[in-house]
């Protein structure tokens, strides 16, 4: 009996062909990512300088300028949205995974998935009706509220998953030495799940930073520094949306540069979250 490879066999040929096909499809799948990244890099790189990060957008036809107000606006609104959604999201997930009845949990998970599936433009319209119409002004508050609704399902789902991964035996062990339920959850289970929870939160933040639709209706945009949370506030995503479509070359270049900054922000958060994941417990 021969145990050596017989390269002429149909089985071998099929095996090699399928491996090659799967490999080529991976390359095809990676093309858009590389194309987008390199295009943004090429187009945006020429304007990547200190002015970009420190100056206000110029009026039409004027040269130079930057996108500093939009960077600040994005940081403010995403920060505010995180302050709202992180405690609510993690709290709900803890209730969901550790305290709720299985039937209740199934409904909450279903509701979370539905919320996750709601298109972001609808969240924008909702926030417009709920916060802009009632207060009669576009504001950073309204923008942050819309973003926080967007972040909530991601945070709940990833935290829920992170808590479910923590082995049941660890909970028993804590209860076995006389820990009450809340002690078990807060002192043993949540710390064990923390790296994965952090990853979920950074993912939610990265997603919120790049969203345009909820902000167009709520925070709007200004050419100036954001000086109050209850006034229209610029953001990178809306700046890209506004500037990319105007017929002025300077504005178009700024839109590309803003895209690059946005991509870098999102990329940095993903890398930070990977770093947190490396220390994961389970």
């Amino acid at each position: 009996m021969y145990l050596t490879h017989q390269s002429g066999k149909a089985r071998s040929i099929f095996n090699k062909a399928m491996t090659f096909l799967a490999g080529s499809l991976v390359v095809v799948a990676l093309i858009p990512l590389l194309a987008v990244l390199s295009y943004v890099l090429i187009k945006g790189f020429s304007r990547l300088n200190l002015d970009l990060l420190t100056k206000l957008p110029p009026p039409p036809m004027a040269p130079g300028g930057g996108i500093a107000n939009a960077i600040v606006g994005t940081l403010i609104m995403v920060g505010l949205a995180s302050v709202i959604s992180v405690p609510i999201g993690i709290g709900s997930a803890i209730f969901l995974s550790e305290f709720s009845h299985p039937t209740t949990a199934r409904w909450i998970r279903f509701a979370t998935n539905v919320l996750n599936g709601v298109p972001s433009i609808i969240l924008g319209v909702f926030a417009y009706a709920a916060f802009v119409v009632t207060t009669k002004t576009f504001s950073a508050y309204a923008g942050a509220a819309a973003l926080s609704i967007l972040m909530l399902p991601t945070i709940i789902r990833t935290t829920d998953e992170a808590l479910k991964i923590v082995p049941q035996e660890i909970r028993w062990a804590a209860l076995g030495v006389g820990a009450a339920k809340y002690q078990t959850v807060l002192q043993i289970v949540v710390p064990a799940a923390l790296p994965t929870i952090i990853t979920g939160v950074t993912l939610a933040i990265a997603r919120a930073a790049g969203e345009t639709a909820p902000l167009i209706f709520t925070a709007l945009f200004t050419q100036f520094w954001p000086n109050s949370l209850s006034q229209p506030t610029p953001s990178l995503a809306v700046l890209v949306f506004n500037f990319a479509t105007v017929p002025f070359k300077n504005q178009q270049e700024l839109a590309w540069a803003a895209s690059l900054i946005l991509v870098l922000l999102v990329l940095t958060t993903s890398i930070v979250s990977r770093f947190a994941l490396r220390r994961k417990t389970y």
Binding site: E169, L175, G176, G178, A180, I188
Partner: protein, 273 residues
């Protein structure tokens, strides 16, 4: 040497020995499913009692009744009574958290917390409001668990980085640190190699001077080596599913050399099923 019948032996010992745990007509249910039926059993203080029997006979389920760990399962309920020091553990006035502080548990799979070795041992005393030198208590518990010499220079390292046998002894140290009265062990050596198993068995012999130990094991040599008394459980199929029940409970010597029941004899001899 006078030959006692097993019946006589149990009767005399009931009078002589102090009872730490007792199950009286205990039925264990999961929803409409009866898992274990009608167990009557007294567990003597400062002795090692082992539960043996085929898989699914409810020995682990019964063990978890003694520290109310089954409470975590939604559909679980019991009929009958479980006593610890003459207190009904399932009385509505009893706080299961306090029960678990007095009746500790070691699990099948070593399950140290993802914390440092020191914090693993110190966690129980801390949450129980221990006043005194925590350092001393940690050292004493680790010494009792025969782990101190191996870990004394690396108390800050993670407990999960230890070997399986060391992890299990860490879990025992963690249980001892709370200073319980009873230690329940659910197949504590199932995931360990023979050398670690030997260490844990030697440890149990040391520990029984201070604690009452109940151990569930699939290893019959282990039961015969370490335990003073052995309870043999069996499982029978009924139209509503498999129900576990206590077949025979006696001194380990009698169970292994002169069992009363044919089932026990067959199981011990490996002629089962």
């Amino acid at each position: 040497m006078t030959h006692y019948s097993p019946q006589m032996a149990t009767q005399t010992q009931d009078k002589l020995e102090d009872t730490a745990l007792e199950a009286v007509n205990l039925h264990i249910h999961y929803g409409s499913f009866l898992a274990v039926r009608d167990v009557c059993l007294k567990i003597a203080r400062n002795q090692i009692t082992s539960f043996i029997g085929p898989s699914g006979c409810g020995k682990s389920t019964l063990l978890r009744c003694f520290n109310r760990l089954n409470d975590l399962i939604e559909s679980f309920y019991i009929k009958g009574q479980v006593y610890h020091d003459n207190q009904d553990l399932y009385s509505r006035h009893v706080d299961p958290v306090l029960v678990r502080r007095r009746i500790g548990m070691v699990f099948q799979k070593p399950n140290p917390f993802p914390k440092s070795i020191y914090d693993n041992v110190a966690y129980g005393p801390r949450i129980n409001g221990f006043k005194g030198s925590l350092d001393e208590l940690v050292e004493q518990s680790l010494r009792q668990a025969a782990l101190w010499d191996e870990v004394k220079d690396k108390l800050k390292q993670s407990g999960t980085a230890l070997s399986g046998g060391q992890q299990q002894r860490l879990c025992i140290a963690r249980t001892i640190a709370v200073q319980p009265e009873v230690i329940l062990m659910d197949e504590p050596c199932a995931a360990l190699d023979p050398i670690s198993t030997l260490k844990v068995e030697q440890l149990m012999n040391e520990l029984k001077k201070q604690y009452t130990i109940v151990i569930v094991t699939h290893n019959m040599q282990q039961a015969s080596r370490v335990s003073d008394k052995t309870a043999f459980f069996n499982v029978e199929a009924t139209d509503k599913g498999k129900v576990g029940y206590l077949v025979e409970y006696d001194d380990t010597v009698n169970i292994f050399t002169n069992p009363r029941e044919t089932y026990t004899r067959d199981y011990i001899a490996g002629r089962f099923g």
